[in-house]
Amino acid sequence: MTALPPFQALLDEHAADVMAVLRGAVGRTDADDCFQETFLAALRAYPKLSDDGNLRGWLLTIAHRKAIDHHRADGMRPLPVAEPEELAGTTAEPELDAGVWELVGALPPKQRAAVALRYACDLPHAEIAAALGCSPDAARRSLHEGIKRLRKELA
């Protein structure tokens, strides 16, 4: 096992991406709170982290949980989520493009959340529905509308 890098190195490399994803997932106003929660949770767990192969994936997994916590706190149904340690190294890395996430952040809330949970956090439709407290069909519709709108703006 290689030694864990100083936590500051994670911030230097990934803080901007985590912030962009969270802006997409919960909107600009609440992104900072989720950002703080994400990195405090990461900092808490960090010394005991055994797999440092995919620190970026690990951070984005925590960010996804905090985004879901946020939606849940908004009165949504709870959703069981695995501990980040178990997912570290196995999470697919979303392709991040800060410009696109800026546009995602400008979508209406439901669409914005659906797009972020799907593409930043890699959640299946059923879990997006659970996180947003709507039916899977409604989640699929929000996602579809969101993507359609993004396509139009990117075209």
Binding site: A3, L4, P6, A9, L11, P47
Partner: protein
């Protein structure tokens, strides 16, 4: 983003999650990298010789990987170093964390820490204070390995004949510090 990161460092410190705080402090010799744990000042790196990544990686491995840039945590260190370099502060009043030094080296560095401003000691005297008069070479090594130079004043340790000996920050820096403290009196 800068504000978010600052807030994160503050909250990490409040919640006991900031094991090593670091920042850079300007000095007449160039920027110093300084680091502190909740126990106290643990590391000062010389301007000419340090590599930031390497130093931080070392702190992460030796102390804790919870290493964050947190200038606010080092305000007092910065203030006292500034005053010292201006010649306005003769005695640092800072809690120190000695964990990076062990055994004889730590004893030698604690002896060095007791040398008053503007005074010097020989490597032999330091070896004696650390409990082994014959370990002169080891006393020299302890100076060279001093993790908290300037504040723990290894620049006040000279050869028995009065020759400067060595210095991790380079001999011109050792000379300049001794001049600042009025030891060399500019006669060199």
């Amino acid at each position: 983003m800068k504000k978010s990161l600052q807030q994160l460092a503050n909250r990490a410190a409040e919640e006991g999650l900031l094991d090593v705080a670091y920042t850079t402090v300007d000095s007449p010799f160039g920027p110093l990298l300084v680091a502190a744990t909740p126990q106290g000042l643990v590391k000062i790196s010389f301007p000419a010789t340090y590599d930031t990544d390497e130093t931080l990686q070392g702190l992460a491995a030796q102390i804790s990987p919870r290493v964050l840039e947190a200038p606010a945590e080092l305000d007092d260190v910065r203030r006292q170093l500034d005053l010292y370099f201006e010649g306005k502060l003769h005695e640092f009043d800072l809690p120190l964390d000695w964990q990076l030094s062990k055994g004889f080296r730590r004893r030698a560095l604690r002896a060095i820490d007791r040398i008053p401003y503007g005074k010097t000691r020989s490597y032999t005297e330091i070896a004696r204070s650390a409990g082994n008069e014959r370990a002169v070479r080891a006393a020299g090594t302890a100076c060279g390995a001093n993790p908290i130079p300037i504040v723990v004043p290894c620049h006040r340790v000279l050869r028995s004949g009065g020759a400067l000996g060595g210095y991790g920050g380079g001999l011109p820096m050792k000379e300049a510090l001794l001049e600042l403290e009025g030891v060399l009196g500019g006669q060199r």
